[in-house]
Symmetry: C2
Subunit: 321 residues, 2 copies
């Protein structure tokens, strides 16, 4: 999908590479993490812990977002959130983003401005700066984002530390982005809160470091769907995990949208990705922070069950399959 | 440009996302910098300096490389080198790469293997690991690489520190990639050393930290062409820089290829990008490390001259212009 280019709008080809870089960097306020921002061969970011946490994700127009369903700012927010959530899911505090941007030469500069605004807005929500990037010509609109973070002296919380006897808990929205996608797919634009959750997730970034401090044994962000992602913890940790649907924090808005569309809000919560909620295991129920909701248990074995049974529906999202 | 997909070759769609990730990570040896490698939400990389240097570049098939001119391994090496050189040009030691990979579903997995081999090979040359990545579906082949590095207690060498009285020096090949491109453009495949320089640069990574230790006042890697990049130092530092062509380290191979094609090797050296040599300014001629070649002087004023005059040819490469 190529972004529309009204005849009277300035294009990236007209602005030129250096003009574009000025456009997306001028007037932005960097956080204290940013020791040297954009404009040189590389940026310099504080890493007081002596270790840096790093992750990268690529979003492609028509695959990961649709510009007729999401504004450029939504796209920027979403691209930032997907990466910032990965940093927080290690228990780290996000410090910086780097952004690779590929687009057709006739892309209007207003699209770049919008994506840039979204990236900066979401980075600021997480306390991070946008410290570097690259802009190149490409037939398709592609945004690659790398996020960095600081562990603040804690051990990284991986997927492999869950042990029998642990409890499973979540923090953040589940199923909202999937419900929003379903709404848009039927041609509707509201409810705005649900549609907005698909356009740009709002991960509770602080929940990641909070869980690490509380002693979480395993953690990840829910990007492929709760069942699929909890399955990653089960597989990496060599344990079985059971989710209790009566404990899932189901919001009335999801119930209403499910009723309106004849769809199951529980299925959205179990299989919908892209909300970037956090799922973690803790040794004891008392370890689970107040903002989190306990939804299951860890025991010996393998695989993920729902209310003690294998969930029969398709349970995730894998590229190319 | 879409890579060719022979009918009997396995495609990325058949391998699936997780199969591909296993393919590019299995059996790779991580350096000591890598504290937690691929497979979790994010990687963890040592940053003993307490600051991390970070840069990102995006390469697009048909724009930055041609798969009929370069093997997949060349493409991987080139993508890694462009970023590793940016890290070294700050005076830092490269520690890690993260790789975003977007390609059509019918891309053969052998292409992924080749690019992966090239990325790992060049990362190993620089002492870095490949610690994370993302693979997504896209109409066009796009590779985005982020590199990280460690300053080892030194101050980052930016573009803005050159002062009147400094000398300008370079380390690494100049004009080789441009000569190789000219050779390929005429339909030839040799000389191999020249063509190879276009297919995959070989930046002298150690020269970056070496220059920083020797007290370089400004530095960058030559990616846009010597004149254009030295112009970036002149502009950022608010100085004038003169390059003396009799001091340029011109290799006999460049002279031979120039004679064969009726082209100017001097012009290739002054304007050819993508070799990722390093250019730096030093306070005194005696500060210039032995491996470097002094080629010019810094004085009050602005702009870049060649033998005291404005160079008349087109002097660089800017996207979309």
């Amino acid at each position: 999908m190529r972004p529309e280019s009204p005849r009277d709008a300035e294009t990236v080809a007209e602005a030129g590479e250096f003009g574009l870089i000025r456009r997306v960097t001028n007037g932005r306020r960097q956080p204290a993490w940013t020791l040297l921002g954009p404009g040189d061969d590389a940026a310099v970011v504080a890493a007081p812990d002596g270790r840096v946490v790093a992750t990268t994700d690529v979003l492609v127009a028509g695959v990961h977002f649709r510009l007729d369903w999401s504004s450029p700012e939504h796209v920027g927010r979403k691209a930032a959130a997907a990466n910032l959530a990965d940093i927080a899911a290690m228990g780290a505090v996000p410090t910086a983003l780097l952004v690779g941007f590929a687009c057709p030469p006739d892309t209007p500069t207003s699209l770049i401005d919008g994506v840039s605004d979204g990236l900066w807005r979401e980075a600021a929500r997480a306390g991070a700066g946008v410290v570097g990037g690259d802009m190149v010509s490409c037939g398709q609109l592609v945004i690659s984002v790398t996020a960095l973070g600081d562990m603040r002296g804690l051990a990284p919380v991986t997927r492999s530390g869950a042990a029998p006897g642990d409890v499973l808990a979540v923090c953040g929205r589940l199923g909202w982005a999937a419900a929003g996608l379903a709404v848009l797919g039927r041609g509707f634009r509201s409810p705005v809160a649900i549609v907005g959750a698909h356009q740009a997730p709002e991960p509770p970034y602080l929940a990641g470091p909070q869980a690490a401090e509380a002693g979480a044994t395993a953690m990840l962000d829910v990007s492929d769907g709760l069942l699929a992602d909890v399955g990653h913890i089960a597989e990496a940790s060599g344990v079985a995990i059971d989710i209790r649907t009566d404990l899932l924090p189901m919001h009335q808005r999801l119930i209403d949208v499910g009723a309106a569309l004849g769809a199951s809000p529980r299925h959205w919560m179990l299989t919908g990705g892209e909300d970037h909620a956090f799922a973690a295991t803790f040794p004891e129920p008392a370890d689970v922070p107040e903002e989190w909701t306990t939804i299951g248990t860890v025991r010996r074995g393998s695989g993920v069950t729902v209310d003690g049974r294998v969930y029969q529906e398709t349970s995730g999202w894998e590229h190319w399959r």
